[in-house]
Symmetry: C2
Subunit: 374 residues, 2 copies
C-alpha cells in the first residue's frame, strides 16, 4: 500500500508518495514529478531542454521567426534585418531583489522577466523581435520549476511576436534572469521615442490606470483583505503586465517624440524625462488615473500607490494637447493628461492639488542600493 | 601626526591613514580613495558614473560609434544598420563561478567578461559592434573597484571597435556581469560560421596555441613555481585573452563554414561541432599545438591543459585541407591541423596517439551544475 502525505503550496498540491514527489498544477492542467535537480541534468542537458521548448514555440507566421537564420545552439544567434535602425535593451530580474517566489509563482517570474524588457522597447515606439535569455540559478533548483518559468516567458514571447533565440545558463546563489531584447524601428524613418525630446508647455499623459500592480503586490503579500473580484484584478495587474507595445508605436506614428515606461513609479520615471529634457514637470494629483479598484479599496493609500508604486508598465509621454487628444480617439486604451512640462524647477517633478497648492508625497520611486529607501 | 598602517593587496598598496583609506595602483598610475560604497552612491549615481565612462570612451573613427543613435541613458539603445544580418550573443561572468577576485583582478574581470562574448562573435566570423552590460553586485562594493572593472571592459571595447551602449545595475549577493554583444555579418552575403556545417573528411584545425590560459590560472592560484618570464606569459594568456575576431572573419572569407571558440576546452567544444554536424572527430594528440611555455613547464600535465583546460579563446574550425593550408599563408596567427571529422562514432571526440592507438584523457571540459565534475 502506498503511504505518503500531501500539502498545498503556492504552485499547487504537493504529494509525497513512497519515494515519489509529485506536484499537481491545476492552473496548468498538469502534474510534474519532482525528480530531477538542475545538478543532475547538467548545464548542457538544461540548455537542450530549454532550446527544445523555445524551438517548439516558433510561429512561422511571425516576422521574427521568418527572418531567423540561426537560433539557440550556436555561438550566437543570427537574423536577417531590413529595418534601418536596431534597438537593444537589457534588464535583470533577480530573486529577493526584483521578485520573491513567495509572492510571484514561477510561471509569472518568466512572464515578468520578459515583460519588463518588452516595455522598454514599447517606450521607444519600437517593434520587439528577438530575446536572448541568461539564467543563473542554484544547482539544487528543480528542473520542473525552470520549465514552468520558461513556459511563462514563451507565452508572452508568442503573444508579442518575439523569438527567443539564445542565452546561457550558470550556477549562482540566487535565481537571476537577465534578458536582452532586440528590436527595430517601425519604418525606415528611424524615428524613436526618447526621454530627451520634451518641450516646455507639452502636456504629460499616461496610458491606462495606475497603482493596480503595487496594490496587487500588497494583496499577494497578504496585507489587505478585499473583495474577491478586486483581488483577482489587482493580482493579475501585478503578475501579468502586458507591455504597451502597440500603444508605443501609435504614439510615435502620431507625432509623439518623448516617452518612458512606468517601472519605478510615475514620479521617479517622470524625473528621468525632466533631467534628460532639462525641464521641470508639474503634476496635478487629482488628474492621476488611479485604478478604480485601487481607489475603491485602498482609500488614503491609493494615490501613493498610483504615484510611486511602480510596476504598472504603462507609458508616460509628453506632447502638444491636440496631439494627445487626437491619440485618445485612436485607441481603446485610456489616455489621461496629468500635467505639463515647465521651464521652471528644471530636473524636478512638482505635485500640486486641485487648488494649485504643493502636494507632499511620502515615498519616492524604487532605486537599488540606496540605504535610505523604505 | 598622521597615524596608520598599510599592506600590499592584489591590486596595489593599501594605506589606512587616520580616517582615510587609500589604494595606490601602480599598474594604472593612480591612487583611489576608498570612500564610497555602491550603497552610498545609489543606483542612478552608479549608472551616471558608468555612462560617463562609456561616453568618454567613444571614438568617432569607429563605425559602431558613428552609427549610434541613442546610447546609455534611455529605455533602449538604438543604432543605424546597413548590414543584412544581425548577430547576438550573451554570456554571464559570475563571481566564484566563472572567476575569483583572489585570482583575477578587477580590471581583468571587466576585460574577460567582454572577451568571452566577443569570442562568440569571432566564432561566427562576424563583426562585433555594440555591447549592453548588466552589473549585479553587493551594495557594499567599493565604487572605485567598479570603475576599475569598467575600465578593463572599455579598454577591450576600444581595441575591438565595440561601443558600450546600454545596461542595467542591480544589487545581488555576488558580483555578476552579464553582457550581450550585438554584431553583424561582414558583407551582404549573410555568410556565417556555424557549428553544424562540418563534412566527413574535413580537417580539424585550431588558431594559436593551447593550454596557456589554464596554465596561467594554475600559476595565479599559486600552485607551480616556474621562471618569471614564463609566469608572465601564461598569466597574461589567462588574464587578457584577445578574441580572434580578425581570424574568424578571415576564415569565413576563405570559405570555412564551421567554427567554435575554445572556451570550455578543445574536447568539450569539438563535441558541440560533432553533435551539431552529426559526425565524429578524431584528434591526433601529438599534433596539438601545446603552448611552448606550457610544454616546457608542466611536463605530463601539459597535454591535459591543452586539451581540456579551456579559456584559451582560440578558434576551432573544420574545412578541406587545401583551404586550411591556404589560410595558413594569409595570417601571422599559427594555424594547426589536429585531426579529421569522421563518419563513424558520430557525436564523439576520439583521441589517438601517434601510432593510432586510443589515448585516454582524465578530465572533460567544464560544465555547470554537474555534481560529478572535478
Amino acid at each position: 500500500m502506498a503511504r505518503g502525505f500531501f500539502y498545498l503550496t503556492a504552485l499547487g498540491l504537493y504529494f509525497n508518495i513512497d519515494k515519489y514527489q509529485i506536484l499537481l498544477l491545476p492552473r496548468y492542467g498538469r502534474a510534474i514529478i519532482l525528480a530531477m535537480k538542475v545538478s543532475e541534468l547538467g548545464e548542457f542537458g538544461l540548455i537542450d531542454l530549454l532550446a527544445k521548448m523555445a524551438h517548439r514555440s516558433r510561429d512561422k507566421q511571425t516576422p521574427a521567426w521568418q527572418q531567423l537564420i540561426i537560433g539557440i545552439g550556436d555561438d550566437a544567434a543570427a537574423w536577417h534585418s531590413d529595418a534601418a535602425a536596431q534597438l537593444a535593451t537589457v534588464d535583470s530580474f533577480i530573486q529577493d531583489v526584483h521578485f520573491s517566489l513567495a509572492v510571484t509563482p514561477w510561471e509569472e517570474v518568466g512572464w515578468k522577466a520578459l515583460a519588463i524588457n518588452l516595455s522598454d522597447i514599447a517606450a521607444m515606439g519600437g517593434v520587439p523581435r528577438y530575446a536572448v535569455v541568461s539564467l543563473a540559478l542554484p544547482e539544487t533548483t528543480e528542473v520542473g520549476y525552470i520549465t514552468i518559468l520558461y513556459r511563462g516567458m514563451i507565452e508572452l514571447a508568442k503573444q508579442a511576436g518575439v523569438a527567443i533565440v539564445g542565452g546561457d545558463t550558470s550556477s549562482a546563489a540566487q535565481l537571476m534572469i537577465n534578458i536582452t531584447v532586440l528590436g527595430s524601428t517601425q519604418d525606415e524613418k528611424e524615428n524613436i521615442l526618447t526621454r530627451s525630446g520634451a518641450r516646455a508647455g507639452d502636456k504629460i499623459a499616461v496610458t491606462g490606470y495606475l497603482g493596480a500592480a503595487s496594490a496587487g503586490w500588497e494583496i499577494l503579500r497578504g496585507k489587505p483583505r478585499i473583495k474577491a473580484k478586486a483581488t483577482a484584478t489587482l493580482k493579475e495587474a501585478f503578475l501579468h503586465p502586458f507591455p504597451r507595445i502597440a500603444e508605443g508605436q501609435l504614439l510615435l506614428k502620431q507625432g509623439i517624440r518623448t516617452a518612458i515606461d512606468i517601472s519605478d513609479g510615475l514620479c521617479s520615471d517622470l524625473g528621468h524625462i525632466c533631467r534628460a529634457s532639462r525641464l521641470g514637470a508639474r503634476i496635478e494629483v487629482d488628474r492621476i488615473p488611479v485604478h478604480p479598484e485601487v481607489r475603491a479599496n485602498f482609500s488614503n493609500k491609493a494615490l501613493e500607490l498610483a504615484l510611486s508604486g511602480g510596476e504598472d508598465y504603462e507609458l508616460l509621454f509628453t506632447g502638444r494637447a491636440e496631439v494627445v487628444n487626437r491619440i485618445r480617439g485612436l485607441t481603446p486604451c485610456p489616455i489621461t493628461i496629468v500635467g505639463e512640462m515647465t521651464l521652471d524647477k528644471r530636473g524636478q517633478v512638482t505635485l500640486v492639488d486641485s487648488r494649485g497648492s504643493p502636494f507632499e508625497l511620502s515615498k519616492g520611486g524604487w532605486e537599488h542600493f540606496r540605504e535610505t529607501q523604505s
